[in-house]
Symmetry: C2
Subunit: 250 residues, 2 copies
DNA sequence: GTCTGATCTTGGTCAGACCAGTATGCTAAC
DNA sequence: GTTAGCATACTGGTCTGACCAAGATCAGAC
């Protein structure tokens, strides 16, 4: 009695969701397809329209389907925003997870740069070149600089031509931009950092151009390690001249 | 009559969802908290109950909230299953994504093993030891063997003591178990694989014991590469003696 | 003090209705 | 014959009000 999985014992929402999931997974519903109307779906499955809407809304947040006002519901290509939403919520409730996410970010990027070495094309190189130049131009600006930094790293991931890696990386973007920005705020504190930021990114770029996965990975990893070191030094109070900067943004 | 169209431009579902998201992200709604009833929420936000249910259902599939029948809606700790669902759907519609996910898996695990070298404790070592032994014991069984293989790799990630990495890794678990299993089916085809499976995992284990991140990463990476190679060879028809095995499971 | 049952509340669901635009087809004008 | 125009049948978006089943609660009986 407790498990009525046998028949169509599922009730309401589950029934509709299962019905749609089945078609989706089986492939009889492919991206671009238009679902039958909510009303039809309701009568077809013997449930009310609000229930159907619940199921459709569920699929919407999963990025599988898109409800278009007055048009209909269409199957979409799986979207990134789901992971984005999830991480946003998940991290909001566990702030200590930020350091953890950084680790995941390192993981993603190091793998991405390996793939980038193999798969990057001219367009990717150009994008990397552009973003690299941007880093040099915005070296003295916290916001723009942080953005440029992020764009460069994103370009690496994009160059991996891996949808999954890109998705994972961008889903952490929101959290990472902050770290990029705060790193830039340290530039004024550590003059040496200016060199580090420019040269290091340049070195990373070179490894991709050279298509040397091992060296790319190692260089990128070192890049992160040095960044950590700077941040650590800042935390322990190695800064004196720009204490206003750091305190202001915290 | 149309109250609040002016203020909160969002309509219906968006309004409720935004309202809840705000509280969730701000932290005023923490895991374990019970939300106000659907009816109250409806009147509070000036929408109908079905709309509120849509929003709650959306949060449910995101694993942020749990609707308990006749009890209420409570905030839960973000769950991995969302990612699982997502990948399942995403994969069904883009089969080529599997290879992509494998790359992400490699990324996660290689980062995890590095952390594991630093952070693994006695309990982690014991778990690794246990799962390693299991691999040897179940070397001739496809199902149990695949499971043991997976458990070992999971133990590595767990030993990294990184929540995020663990979450990401297990979210791909559903897909990976299949790959683990199919790999095991190749054991009969390639006698040499038996050695590969046992010795290679042993080597990986040793690197963690030695707390040598670089070697661990490299060894694990090579492990995956060899696995890929076996799979590639199987695909191109390098198997002759056990064609029944492979055709049966496909 | 404990047990029991009525009542309140909660989620789960339904039916029917209205609105606002879209899509379509049919008519009427050119 | 072609096309401009409009009526109509859709679609999603939403609301109202209602009923059910079962957990939660508390008053009253024992």
């Amino acid at each position: 009695m407790e498990l009525k999985r046998a028949a169509e014992g599922e009730k309401g929402f589950e029934k509709v969701f299962a019905f749609l999931r089945e078609r989706l997974l089986a492939g009889s519903l492919k991206p671009g397809d238009r679902l039958i109307s909510e009303r039809e779906l309701a009568t077809l499955l013997g449930v009310s329209r609000p229930i159907v809407r619940e199921a459709l809304r569920a699929l919407t947040v999963l990025g599988i389907v898109e409800i278009r006002d007055r048009i209909g519901t269409v199957v979409t290509r799986p979207d990134v925003s789901v992971l984005n939403d999830f991480f946003t919520f998940a991290l909001a409730q566990q702030a200590d997870m930020l350091d953890d996410v950084m680790q995941a970010r390192v993981a993603i990027e190091c793998q991405a740069i390996r793939l980038a070495c193999e798969r990057a094309n001219i367009a990717d190189f150009e994008r990397l070149q552009r973003t690299l130049a941007k880093i040099g131009e915005t070296i003295d600006e916290a916001d723009a600089g942080g953005m440029a930094d992020f764009e460069f790293h994103r370009a690496i991931v994009v160059a991996s031509h891996s949808e999954t890696l890109t998705v994972l990386h961008s889903s952490m973007a929101g959290l990472l931009t902050h770290s990029h920005r705060s790193r830039r705020e340290l530039v004024q504190a550590f003059p040496s950092m200016k060199t580090y930021l420019i040269d290091d990114h340049r070195r990373i770029f070179d490894t991709i151009i050279a298509r040397d996965p091992e060296r790319a990975d190692a260089t990128l990893r070192k890049h992160f390690a040095i960044g950590d070191e700077y941040r650590r030094r800042a935390v322990v109070g190695d800064i004196d001249k720009t204490s206003d900067k750091t305190s202001a943004s915290r």
